[in-house]
Symmetry: D2
């Protein structure tokens, strides 16, 4: 898996001169979408198939500030994969140094009912399992 790169935009900074902390939640979404594309089951396909996958929880631990033009490298690992829940862990680095770590929790709804990941998305499930042993 290739890490996702996000170059900090001017409009993502705030008057403290650093990337506003809310943007890391967005950067994690960008990285997650790219990660799913790499796993071969894009978020657009999921939506086209009528799946709704809300973010159940999200958190960030801010270690170092970043700013305009910094290139944030985001690495994603599956932290937990159960029947109906997926927990992803994010490590964000600039120049090799950790600037932020985060976590998101996801579930999947198919026609309004919780979907069992391994049954509804077997290939995605296998691909995610494979990243665990990589």
């Amino acid at each position: 898996m290739k890490p996702y790169l996000h170059e900090v935009k001017y409009y993502e900074t705030d008057k403290m001169g650093v990337t506003h902390h809310s943007n890391y939640i967005r950067i994690m979404e960008e990285a997650r979408i790219d990660w799913m594309d790499q796993l071969g089951y894009g978020y657009d396909r999921m939506e086209a198939e009528g799946i709704v996958s809300p973010v159940v929880a999200a958190s960030c631990n801010y270690k170092k500030t970043t700013t305009f033009k910094d290139v944030i490298e985001v690495e994603i690992k599956v932290k937990q994969l159960s029947e109906v829940k997926l927990i992803l862990a994010y490590t964000m680095r600039v120049g090799g140094k950790i600037v932020c770590t985060g976590e998101t929790v996801h579930c999947f709804f198919d026609g309004g009912r919780p979907a069992v990941i391994a049954e509804r998305f077997p290939s995605l499930y296998e691909a995610m399992l494979a990243t665990l042993s990589a």
Copy 2:
């Protein structure tokens, strides 16, 4: 009509220490939605009725910078109201001084076809006309 008030949020500032210029486009949208509510035909009702009203054009002339906690007072005037097009002019002030002026152009689609404003929204049309002579 009551002017719309927007207090600048911390996350709306950028590393120059001022409100990022893109946010005025959003503030104009907030003010426009409030203005339509005051005219008695809210944007949520319009959407519920299946009307799609894209912004065709938008522009801003930035006069003075604003920053965190500034209260921007937005005044809207109908600049042009034709059969299928609406042009709104915005004056944004802080403490009585103009900080930005703007314009947006709108049209309305009903079931994918352009809607004649006076026919499809007669009460909104009358209300907008009334603001012209106020």
Copy 3:
């Protein structure tokens, strides 16, 4: 203490039709700034005095979706107040129902060094303590 009200803006929604999850982090910031104003020690004054107060961590648990025009009522409680660390807990409700809960962790730097809250901001410290027993 008065709860903070945030009416969801059109631009805060996403193509799923709901408030994008990243915006709750921003709404928590808005509420926190209002809360500090109510405690009599505004964030602008803190910045003017050269204090830098980074968000060390932030998290959200999303319970129900919200959308355009929903009015989110944010209640803040001090969860932990130590010498150099402040943890705030947020409860966000629409129409009395909880839509999201969150937490933020803060510390304070004065001239680049960690500030002891009770010493550097005695009145703010007392005001925060008072909310605990309220």
Copy 4:
């Protein structure tokens, strides 16, 4: 000059299912920063040298909607270059079709006073002139 590419992010869409119109102003900024980098005089260097370059005006004409995962290709042309003012014109395309055109007006301040572009930034000025005859 290489056109700038922006892939539309999920959080840039709104409940209409399309890219929110305010984001094009941000995309134009991203493209402009990339364009200045290509011209050899990056915005970060300009800021480091104490230059302040506010956006004096910005406008967009929206032609077609775009949405999540669309790749917007932004082409920039110098529309006007006078002693103290720079006007840039933007053409944004998806799959070769124009989705939006825009314009921004800029001036430059050095130590609070308007800077004559050709004198203060001779190499940038020459590089911009060169794009005109390309």
